[in-house]
Amino acid sequence: MRLIRQVGEWLDARLQIGETVRETAEHPVPRDTASWFYVFGSAALVVFVLQVVTGILLALIYVPSAGEAWNSLQVLNHGIQLGWFIRALHGWGSNFMVAIVLLHMVQVFLFGAYKYPRELTWIVGVFLLLMTLGMAFTGQVLRFDQDAYWGLGIGASIASRVPVLGPAIVNIMLGGPIIAGATLSRFFAMHVFVVPGLLIVFVALHLLMVVKLGINDWPMPGRVVRKATYVQEYHELTKKDGVPFVPGAVWKDLCFSALILLAVAACAFYLGPFGPSGRPDPTIIQTAPRPDFFFLWLYAVLSLLPPSMETPVLLVGPAVVLLALLALPFVFGEGEKSWRRRPIAVLSILLIAVALGSFTHLAGFTPWSPMMDAWSADSIPPKFLQNRSALERQGALVFQGKQCRNCHALANIGGKRGPALDDVAVRRTQNQLVRQVIQGGGNMPAYGKNLSPAETTALVAFLETLRPAGQPTARDASRSVALEPEVGGRPLTQP
């Protein structure tokens, strides 16, 4: 024991940081901030450290070369003892980090912690969020599989829409004219050197400000932030009713961080690593690329936006969101902190959560994509074929053969791109069906050139049988009227 103290004193006589560390650790914080709501920031930091450690471990084996990366991931998964577990820790750590950073941000927003004098802490935090998402995206690219390859294609296609500079940005992003070795190398440099380096600097700034400005006091309804008086009020609060951060508050951070690490490890152990999916060979096109979980909402948005809105939304949307986040502490730098007095803040969070949640949910079953194998894999249920005429059954063959099934479901089986056709005959008259099949429209391709008149006749005959038992087919009410020469003594058509 005595030796340890002597070594410690020897070191501190030269380093001279013992006093600073002690002061930082024991600085008083308001008593009610020693709360389970204040543990997300430290947990994000702990998961970041986990990512650094597991990242270095993966770099011992991983080969950042377009030709070899996929093979080295296979070696990590299967050839190296517990390589799969380190990969799984890194992959799940990434998901947890994004989730915790988002939770931290929501908590900070709802507790009004971005208000004076912590505006810059919030702004640095916004950049930390961007970097965390940047790490998630570049990391997905390093898992160099089919999803990564086509994901890069999507990224390049979005970047190319920037006016004037688009093509140049694509070339710089890809490191050349196509997605190839140079692309992976530069994403490796971003993921391993550039973004983590920036992250470390920004995390240090973020922490420094938390210590210097003090942790945000628990928001009390009616305790209003005013620039003139806030700092003095805060110091009085910590003096009157403060506890030293260590050990008064830190034990909750420690417990929560350990719990999160345990959760990451449990997910990694029981659910395993992510992929890699198929080889990054662009000549294998039997693939349906999907982004990782935290970008699924974007995948849905890209599919659902009308074509004319897409480029403006893609280019202007992120800038607007970023500006709004950066402007927030300046526009609402004073006033009420408590969420009980900020209904719009609470509603905004709910709205964003519901929107992102709905988009993510939709991306889970991609109703906008044709089901590429429905026409050959899912047969027409027998109930649609029983007691049908030869022509109608011929139409069912056309229906299946021309791959209508890829976009239209029958009995809930098939694509969801177009409407389900179980009761189409109730909604459309025969003429409308013929017109829709031949001319398309409403986001349906025109099949006029792909169907012979006989095939069209058969197909429409089959479609007309698609209605609930006992319900008649739709009919054009105006037609029967128009056929009558007169209604109420007035001629309907002018001679």
């Binding site: 070369s65 070899e68 688009g166 093509p167 070795g181 662009p282 906008w368």
Partner: protein, 183 residues
């Protein structure tokens, strides 16, 4: 000379030092920026866009659309399979051809040809195209990208070398099928 009268000797030397560092930084920045921008300056690279053979003409029967691949003209040994690029060849009538890029004109996913319905369909966001490459439905704003082609010694060649993306309106190797729509 005192500080009150103007610049002290030490201040002058420090400012000169800063100025000198600024010049050195600017001199170093030139090669660094050029290095970073090197992927953009590809017009000087040999063979960036070249005529590449897709195969014998008899591989592409009249009236049909077939899958074909080529090796990108500029490759590094470590590019592996990523330098193998796919495309769709449509032999219109035995005389004229259309060669479509594999990348969807929406966001670049690989489109698949379905001869049964005569449609190209994209697995990502639901884009669909007719057999002549024009837009049929879904989010794409335009038809499929088309390569220039020529026939030499019974072989089909295309001019290729760059991944087509929706932002490139003037790329020399691609035919613009539809004029860009005014928004």
């Amino acid at each position: 000379m005192t500080a009150q009268e103007g610049l002290s000797r030490r201040e002058l030397l420090m400012k000169m030092g800063i100025f000198f560092n600024g010049i050195v930084a600017a001199v170093l920045a030139v090669p660094i920026v050029r290095y970073i921008l090197s992927p953009v300056a590809h017009e000087r690279k040999q063979g960036f866009e070249s005529w590449l053979p897709l195969g014998e003409l008899n591989q592409f029967p009249a009236g049909q659309t077939r899958f074909a691949t080529y090796r990108n003209p500029v490759v590094n040994p470590w590019d592996g399979k990523t330098a193998d690029i796919a495309c769709w060849v449509r032999n219109v009538d035995g005389q004229a051809f259309q060669v479509f890029a594999i990348n969807c004109a929406h966001l670049g996913c690989p489109v698949r040809w379905f001869p049964q319905s005569n449609l190209f369909m994209c697995p990502c966001h639901g884009g669909a195209y007719y057999q002549d490459g024009s837009r049929a439905s879904g989010p794409p704003e335009r038809g499929l990208f088309q390569y220039h082609y020529k026939i030499e010694d019974g072989r089909l060649l295309i001019k290729a070398g760059e991944m087509p993306t929706p932002g490139q309106k003037t790329q020399s190797s691609l035919i613009t099928l539809e004029p860009p729509r005014c928004v």
